[in-house]
């Protein structure tokens, strides 16, 4: 059994010994990061801050979804937590920030949908290349629950699952929105006028899209059990539970926007996450106690064994909820900002 200080599960004891080609691969990643930052700094201001924001977004995502895949053989120096590696984090961050900034610079006069298409195409292609490399080098492998979703369907020659064509753009879209949103707030420090009347139904639709995409992606990690059969949309995703998360997030944002209109956008974002977390934590605890929410074996193996006092929530879930909300809310707020932007 795991504890906070001792971990005996496969999540902690795995082969970290790298091969020569993996060491070379890691060297290339670090070199690519340095060269990219140097190149980007010539065409964009404050690149390092933006890179750190992307890296943070990637790290949050990797931390949250660590049970779904494994990153082995990177060397003991490369790991931050369980099999989450900082080397892969900065690699993915570079794959996102380089095309993103290049597109912003060279397509500045294009319409937003053209730029979005360019982002997603370029980042998806680079992401597929990256995933192919880590899989074929023996770094990346998939948890049994993820393999059951993949169902043995791999792209010939690339050895990556067909579902990566879906997972990578969704993952990149969430991280890209996180980066764009926090760059606007913290680096570019844009000034957004207060909005008298929020388009609450449009915002609800955006919330639905964000939450549903994310739920589809993390579906292998959890089991939503004991729901009425008619409520299941895809595998064990129930619109009752997913709809509940959508409502909580949307209501948190709507109420904060109404009652805290005089706060800065950064402070309001923190309030969205805070209120969403305060409401979600006891609900998640209740779902776990009453066996509506079960975590897959790979997920449980990642737990430290420590629970939040007075609840039955693993401490990892207590951290995962605000992280999940930050990613989702950043996606929602970024697209609300884009739709509200008047040219």
């Amino acid at each position: 059994m795991n504890t906070l200080f001792y971990c005996s599960s496969p999540a902690c004891y795995f082969d970290k010994i790298p091969t020569g080609s993996i060491i070379f691969f890691e060297f290339i990643i670090v070199l690519a990061v340095l060269l990219s930052l140097n190149f980007l700094s010539k065409i964009e201001k404050k690149v390092l801050y933006k890179f750190l924001i992307v890296a943070l977004g990637i790290f949050i995502f990797e931390f949250f979804t660590a049970p779904m895949w494994h990153n082995y053989h990177l060397g003991g120096w490369a790991y931050v937590y369980r099999s989450v590696s900082w080397v892969l984090t900065i690699g993915w961050a570079t794959l996102i920030i380089v095309p993103s900034i290049l597109i912003d610079v060279h397509m500045v006069n294009r319409k937003i949908w053209e730029r979005v298409l360019a982002y997603m195409l370029s980042i998806t292609v680079l992401g597929l290349i990256g995933e192919t490399l880590v899989v074929n080098l023996g770094i990346r492998s998939y948890a049994p629950e993820t393999l059951s979703v993949i169902n043995g369907h791999f792209i010939p020659f690339l050895n990556i699952p067909w579902k990566a064509i879906y997972y990578i753009p969704v993952f990149m879209a969430l991280v890209l929105s996180f980066y764009k949103y926090w760059s606007l707030l913290l680096v570019d420090k844009i000034l957004i006028p207060p909005i008298k009347k929020n388009k609450i139904w449009r915002n609800l639709l955006i919330s639905m899209l964000a939450v549903f995409l994310f739920e589809l992606m993390i579906e292998p990690m959890v089991i939503n059990a004991k729901m009425p059969a008619w409520s299941y949309i895809y595998r064990d995703i129930s619109f009752i539970i997913t709809g509940g998360w959508i409502l909580i997030i949307w209501l948190s944002m709507t109420l904060v926007d109404k009652f805290f209109i005089h706060f800065s956008l950064r402070d309001k974002t923190m309030l969205y996450v805070l209120f969403g977390t305060i409401v979600t934590l006891p609900i998640e605890s209740w779902l776990i106690i009453n066996k509506y929410r079960l975590y897959e074996l790979s997920t449980v193996e990642n737990f430290s064994g420590y629970h939040i006092p007075l609840t039955s929530l693993p401490v990892e879930i207590a951290f995962a909820i605000p992280f999940y909300l930050i990613l989702i809310i950043s996606f929602i707020k970024y697209w609300i900002y884009k739709f509200d932007l008047k040219k």
Binding site: F5, Y81, L191, P193, P194, F259, H262, I308, V315, F323
Partner: protein, 142 residues
């Protein structure tokens, strides 16, 4: 102004942390709090610091009653017999939001017309905007 803001923010973070430590001691969760910071190499502070800031801000506003309302004592300078009397005008949250935006926009060099149009495009009535411009001149932030 910026320095004062940062000092206030720092104090609120400290208040928030003190509250969190107090609650964790009451519920016997202090070892968990400490371990979650130490064992994550401080990464968990990404969550704890904003949480402490939010808690500290809430406590600061609720208990010490320091808030973002713009208050101004307007001396009755037109009435010489009213020496010592003063009026306080408290603005609504909407008005505070407008005034803060106007001030920030002006400090960034935006002209009045652009500010006016930006607010109008976001659903504000012209009358509210004009009043907010007036308040931005007469009120000081606390």
């Amino acid at each position: 102004m910026e320095k004062t803001k940062n000092i206030r923010r720092g104090k609120r973070i400290l208040i928030g942390f003190a509250f969190m430590i107090f609650i964790s001691l009451v519920f016997g969760a202090f070892p968990f709090l400490l371990a979650s910071i130490v064992c994550t190499g401080g990464i968990s502070l990404i969550v704890y610091i904003p949480l402490a800031l939010m808690l500290g801000t809430a406590i600061d506003k609720l208990i010490f009653n320091r808030n973002n309302k713009i208050e101004e004592q307007i001396s009755a300078n037109t009435d010489k017999n009213n020496v010592g009397s003063d009026n306080q005008i408290l603005l609504t949250k909407d008005q505070i939001a407008l005034v803060n935006y106007i001030r920030e926009a002006q400090s960034r060099g935006m002209d009045t017309n652009s500010i006016f149009l930006a607010l109008k495009d976001n659903g504000w009535m012209e009358d509210d905007i004009r009043k907010a411009f007036g308040y931005s001149q007469t009120h000081t932030k606390i």
